[in-house]
Symmetry: C2
DNA sequence: TCATATTAAATCGCACACGATCTAATCGCA
DNA sequence: TGCGATTAGATCGTGTGCGATTTAATATGA
C-alpha cells in the first residue's frame, strides 16, 4: 500500500485542507467575539492554565515568540490578555487573562453545538480522529527533536 | 462522550498542530528545490493535470484567487509555471508547467522514503487517517455549501 | 443591439507562521 | 567578582490565507 503522488491520495493535503476547512468553519462563530482562530487557541490554553510565560504558551501551542509576540500584542490591544514582565525573571513575560478574556469562555462554550453539527455529531469518530492526529504529530515532532 | 474545552481534547487543535508539523517536516525537503509547501501542493495538482485555469486549480486546492494569484506569480518568477490568458475566454488564465516545473516531479518523488520515515511507515494507518480527514472536510464543506 | 448581470482574476489590507537576527537579562564558572 | 554562554522575547522579512473590493471580459435579455 503506497500513497500515490496525487492531491487526493496525499495525507499531507488532506490535513492541509481539513485544517483550513476547520478555520473557515470557526470564523463566523469567532468573529462576533472579535477573535481569530489562533487567538481562540491561545485562550483555550489560558483558560486551562492562566498566567503563563510566553515560552510555556508556545510549548503548548507549538509556536515560537516570532508568532506569539505580535499575536499576544493584538490580544492585549483587544483587552483579552495582559502582558507583564516576570518580577522573578525579567527576561520572561507573563501572559494572563483579563476580565474580558475570562468572560469569553462562556460564550465560547456556546459554540459547541454548532461545531458538533458542522463536524458531524459522531463524537466517537471525532475523538478517534483526534487521537490518530495526536499520534502523527508526536511521530513528526519526535523524529526531528528526540528530546 | 464529549470533547472538553482543553487544547489537547480539541480536535481543532490536533488538526491545526498536525498541519503545521507536516509543513515543518516538508520544509527542509522542499527548500533545496526552492519550493514552499503550498507551492508543492500546486505542483501536485498540476502534475496530475496540466494547463488548468486558476479557478480549477483553486477548486482542487480549496483556495481562491486572492491566495493563488500572488502564489502563482512567485512560481512564475521562479520559472516553475507559465501563466497565459486563455484565448477562448480572456477572463481566465491558464497555468501550465514549465520544463523546470515538470522536472521537479522526479525529485519530489524521491522525498517519499523520507516522508514515510517521518510519518511512520504504517501505510494502512496513514491511509485510514487520510480517509477520515477527507470525510471530515467533506462534512465541513457540505454544511456551508450543500452544492 | 446594447445596457445589465455575471464571471474570472487581480488587488488591497490584515493576521498569522517561521527562519534569521537582535537585545536584554540571567547563569556559570574560572 | 566578572565575563562569556545561555536564555527569553522582540524584531524583521517573506510567504501564505482570506474577506472585501476592483477591473476586465463574457453572457443575457428587453
Amino acid at each position: 500500500m503506497t500513497l500515490k503522488m496525487t492531491l487526493d491520495d496525499q495525507l499531507c493535503f488532506s490535513i492541509y485542507s481539513a485544517s483550513h476547512a476547520i478555520a473557515r468553519m470557526y470564523r463566523p462563530l469567532l468573529d462576533p467575539m472579535g477573535l481569530t482562530y489562533p487567538q481562540y487557541l491561545v485562550l483555550l490554553a489560558l483558560w486551562e492554565r492562566d498566567g503563563r510565560r510566553v515560552r510555556e504558551l508556545g510549548a503548548d501551542l507549538l509556536l515560537d515568540s516570532n508568532t506569539l509576540t505580535p499575536l499576544l500584542k493584538r490580544m492585549q490591544a483587544a483587552d483579552l490578555v495582559a502582558r507583564t514582565r516576570n518580577p522573578e525573571d525579567e527576561r520572561s513575560v507573563l501572559v494572563s487573562l483579563t476580565e474580558k478574556g475570562h468572560a469569553l469562555r462562556a460564550q465560547a462554550e456556546d459554540m459547541a453545538p454548532c461545531v458538533a453539527k458542522a463536524m458531524g455529531d459522531d463524537m466517537e469518530e471525532l475523538a478517534e480522529l483526534r487521537d490518530r492526529l495526536h499520534r502523527l504529530r508526536a511521530r513528526l515532532d519526535g523524529a526531528d527533536q528526540p528530546a
